[in-house]
């Protein structure tokens, strides 16, 4: 099953590139409209949910790390620890998971319903590629939304973490910000961008693929939705772990016993 799935998927991605180039999608007002709709649905409408999750993640991270750091006498290492935990790992991971639960399922069910209703065939019949009109705007809008939501998540988590940390360790705001800025390297920013955009592109490609791959029967809609969510969860964890390992072992040349 896996090789055939991957074979289909790679052909799908290739066809997406080809159709987008052929249809000159970025010159089309209708494509831009769908991208904006997707940004609204995935980005703007998830803003509050991601904010609430980030608020509690920031508090939990600080609560856990402050206790451990104080035990080992590393009370000043809160900034670097937050950079490592939230910017490099938790921000992109949790934001992507929230988007999977909220938007990936919606996109997969929307496309499989469209297929069941004959709307995909309608597009084919009038010579409009569903890849250009339906898939690409959703992938681009969705991926950019994930990126923006990740920034939002990090900002809220660091703020809540700082405010909650004041209960345990009094630290001036300027010092906290400077600590983070000193710890944050250009490689971190590249890693963060790559993780959020890469995961965004990956999960929305998968959702659209699974949605369009159904044979057009209505009972397949819930199956496609579940499948898209499960595959996207797996992809998210694998992608985040692989990227982190690559970053630590190849880019940062990390060895056990060394420092991050």
């Amino acid at each position: 099953m896996a090789p055939s799935f991957l074979g289909f998927f790679s052909t799908y991605v290739w066809e997406l590139f080809r159709a987008s180039k052929e249809d000159r999608v970025f010159h089309r007002r209708d494509v831009r409209t769908v991208i904006l709709r997707q940004l609204k649905f995935t980005g703007a409408q998830s803003f509050r949910l991601v904010g609430i999750a980030a608020l509690f993640v920031g508090i939990m991270t600080v609560a856990q790390s402050t206790a451990q750091l104080q035990r080992f006498g590393g009370g000043n290492a809160l900034g670097p620890l937050l950079v490592a935990a939230i910017i490099r790992e938790l921000g992109p991971l949790l934001t992507t998971l929230i988007v999977v639960a909220r938007s990936v399922s919606a996109v997969a069910s929307e496309l499989s319903s469209m297929k069941a209703n004959g709307e995909i065939e309608l597009l084919h019949s009038v010579g409009v590629s569903p890849l250009s009109y339906l898939v690409l705007p959703r992938v681009l809008g969705g991926a950019f939304s994930v990126f923006l939501l990740c920034i939002h998540f990090v900002a809220v988590a660091l703020t809540s973490g700082y405010l909650f940390g004041q209960l345990f360790v009094k630290m001036p705001l300027a010092k906290f910000v400077l600590d983070i800025l000193h710890t944050l390297s250009p490689a971190d920013i590249v890693l963060f961008t790559f993780k959020s955009l890469g995961a965004g592109v990956g999960i929305f490609l998968l959702a659209t693929f699974v949605g369009l791959r159904t044979s057009g029967r209505s009972y397949e809609v819930p199956q496609a939705t579940t499948q898209a969510v499960v595959y996207s969860f797996l992809l998210t964890f694998t992608f985040q772990a692989a990227t982190s390992l690559f970053y630590y072992f190849v880019v940062m040349n990390f060895t056990f016993g060394g420092s991050l």
Binding site: D30, L122, H124, S125, V126, G127, S129, L212
Partner: protein, 273 residues
Amino acid sequence: MSENFLWDLSCVTLRARDNNFRFLSELKISRGEKIAIVGSDIEYRRSLLRLLSGLEAPKSGAVFVDGVSIPGRDERDPWRDLFPKNFRRKMGISLQSDALISNVSIGECFETLFRFKYGDHNEGLKQGAIRVPREVATSLGMNLSCLEKRPAELNALEKRLASLCLAFLTKPSILMMDNPSYALDDEAWSYLDSTIAKLVVGTQKTLVLSTGDWILADSLCDRWIVLEDKKIIFDGNKKAFRSTYKKRLTDQLSTQRWGKIRSTIEELEIKIA
């Protein structure tokens, strides 16, 4: 293979939705022909229309469209259009499902598809995307207020008309219709029949009509293909068809749609006599 034919099919195997195969030894369709595909093998009818519309690939055999060979679809690649772009632009297709893009209004759906087909890179096309759908809708007698509604808010006739609008939107020279009169009441049927006839009969348009409605086919088409038991059992002109299927045609005439058809029966009886 000749370039004089719009479609030239030989030794084609089709896989219908009932998962059975149908074999087609030869079929040639010229420009300007108006063909009715009728018969009790509904799956064959539908598959053949879908094949001619480029929505389905043959399992084997040679298919030429406007002189261009159409390859069988790679199983991995169901996303690529089988037909050449310039041929697709000439086609207007009305499917039985009456599918329309469900999350936008009918007018927005028309405008989007028009822009996608022709682009919107100049002012003329931008204006055209707004003007043409209204003109087509008016010519089909569709209430313009329907353009503001979503597909779910339309009744059966309005949906059928919207689907026809879509087929006529880009002024096609080739029209494909799948059971356009399906599930309509007499009054709606009568209206639809006269509307399609007005737009098609006496024009140079090529029409391929797959239908179980012989009366509609009789008023629109001049060549008939009858499909029964997984094969073509008749392929000929209107005159030959009427003489071969006189009884069945008059049976259908006498049982269906009394309101409008009485005059057609008289006309047909005179011709058959």
